[in-house]
Symmetry: C2
Subunit: 304 residues, 2 copies
């Protein structure tokens, strides 16, 4: 079984997790979690987003988080942005990494924005240029590359065409995000193999939701295809935007636990991570989709 010896996990709970919660976390709680994550060994953290505070009130204090944490070296703190206003906020608060997103679904994009996904990405050019001029790195996400509620199956050529649109505007770090939880392992394997072979210059991330219980199998398949960078969310926080009540992002502690037990290095202290995820679950005050929070680590089961 062909597997990497080491992977990088980006904690997205502070953004993709918390934006799905009705309860708005206090800035002090977020700061405590972020510093805890750094202490646990995370080197990449999605701290928040620069969206309209009216549309996403949970992320209204993202600027403050960056102001407080942007002095930290050796940890990439990234924010999701959607427009020029977003990159301006990033500049002002000292954020050094932003992520753009486009839907791979043509119908979704046309209905929402009256543009094809490629036109949306082409429209990012000005934002990318402003960011780069200010020393801010830019990555691009493609959501639903493995299937969408609009089209069903997603043709590979359609995803390639969006990747090329990103390359055209100078973005070479790309995330494939299965937000609808439709990806299956053999599809993930062939998509990841194809993408890496065709675009070796790209730094890939995979972002899986566990909506239909396949996230861990998809991570396994992606690793077999050579992918080493994955998003996950503390306590499994998050949701499926198309299925109310469904589970969301794969849980960070479940992923790190599997990597630990498989002998794949993450650099993350799982005991510290579990403590943070327990704190998160306590704040949100509802059950979440995290196996390790329920069952504990395999190691904990072993009688001394």
């Amino acid at each position: 079984m062909n597997l990497p010896s080491k992977v990088t996990i980006c904690e997205v709970g502070l953004r993709d997790g918390l934006q799905n919660e009705t309860k708005i976390f206090q800035t002090s709680e977020k700061l405590e979690l972020a510093t805890g994550l750094i202490a646990a060994g995370f080197k990449v953290i999605e701290l928040g987003s620069f969206m309209s505070p009216k549309a996403v009130p949970q992320m209204a204090d993202t600027d403050k988080l960056f102001q407080d944490l942007n002095h930290i070296d050796g940890v990439e703190l990234r924010a999701l942005i959607a427009n020029k206003k977003g990159v301006e906020r990033a500049i002002n608060c000292g954020c050094r990494k932003v992520k753009l997103n486009v839907s791979a679904s043509r119908q979704h994009n046309l209905a929402n924005l009256n543009m094809t996904p490629e036109e949306s990405v082409a429209g990012f050019e000005e934002i990318v240029n402003i960011a780069l001029q200010h020393g801010i790195e830019v990555s691009g996400s493609i959501s639903m590359p493995f299937g969408s509620p609009w089209e069903g199956d997603m043709p590979l050529e359609s995803v390639q065409s969006i990747v090329e649109a990103y390359l055209n505007v100078g973005v070479t770090e790309i995330s494939l995000s299965d937000a609808s939880g439709m990806a299956v392992p053999n599809q993930v394997y062939s998509m990841c193999s194809n993408m890496q072979e065709r675009y070796p210059q790209v730094k890939w991330w995979l972002h899986f939701h566990n909506t239909r219980g396949m996230a861990m199998a998809n991570i396994l398949a992606a690793m077999q295809a050579g992918i080493t960078q994955f998003d996950s969310s503390f306590a499994g926080l998050g949701g499926c935007p198309f299925v109310p009540g469904a589970t969301g992002n794969v849980s960070s502690e479940d992923v790190v636990h599997m990597m630990d037990e498989m002998g794949i290095e993450t650099g993350i202290d799982i005991e510290k991570l579990i403590e943070l995820s327990k704190k998160v679950r306590q704040i949100v005050d509802h059950d979440t989709d995290s196996y390790i929070l329920k069952a504990g680590r395999s190691k904990d089961l072993i009688r001394k």
Copy 2:
């Protein structure tokens, strides 16, 4: 990605699921579920066990189930047994397939039975002979071959030695059962590869619990190693015997859904299966670990 075109799923919910429930199902409810499973396309079903009704009251009516269903051809209905009394009950009610079980953990077996696992299996010889004389097929299960709460890691040689003990008493159908939910994909892959290469005469089954969220990834790894027979439980019913409150068997509808979406044939009608699992969840009247019951199939998401 090397995968089979077709797999066989054994529904174990009526045994491994229901024996973990405090609510005792009525015989009529079990019969309705069993006939529903057959109508949905299952060709192998674990119907119950012949244990002491005092120890496992949930399984007390297993004889009655076999009496009512043993006329059905083309479907293997199996029962778990532990001793000579069990095989005698199997003979009397027309059960044609029994399964024995031994713990791979030496310490567990010594503490419980004052015997090594190999001695336990050697002691099955009389039971196997009686069964075979009466035209009853026998399979053997090995629980915790991927790790146990007593020893932690399980040496491969230790599992091989139990497999050989089964072969010595004439059992050539063997199930590896991760009841403690400690298995990880690369370990599953190497164990399954090794076992099939070393014992090509054995018909293998893999039985995964989703205690730590890894069951689907483990099934993927096992398929890549050539395994094509898996146990699962409707609605994800079952428990981890060592972790109170933890989730149990991987859910049948989650497994069949993944196979469907991967293009791997199961012969099972997932819509019928989902209806049965909903009925099960209604009877047990508590939430269970089934993603498809919560989120629906990927196909259901696609807008018409």
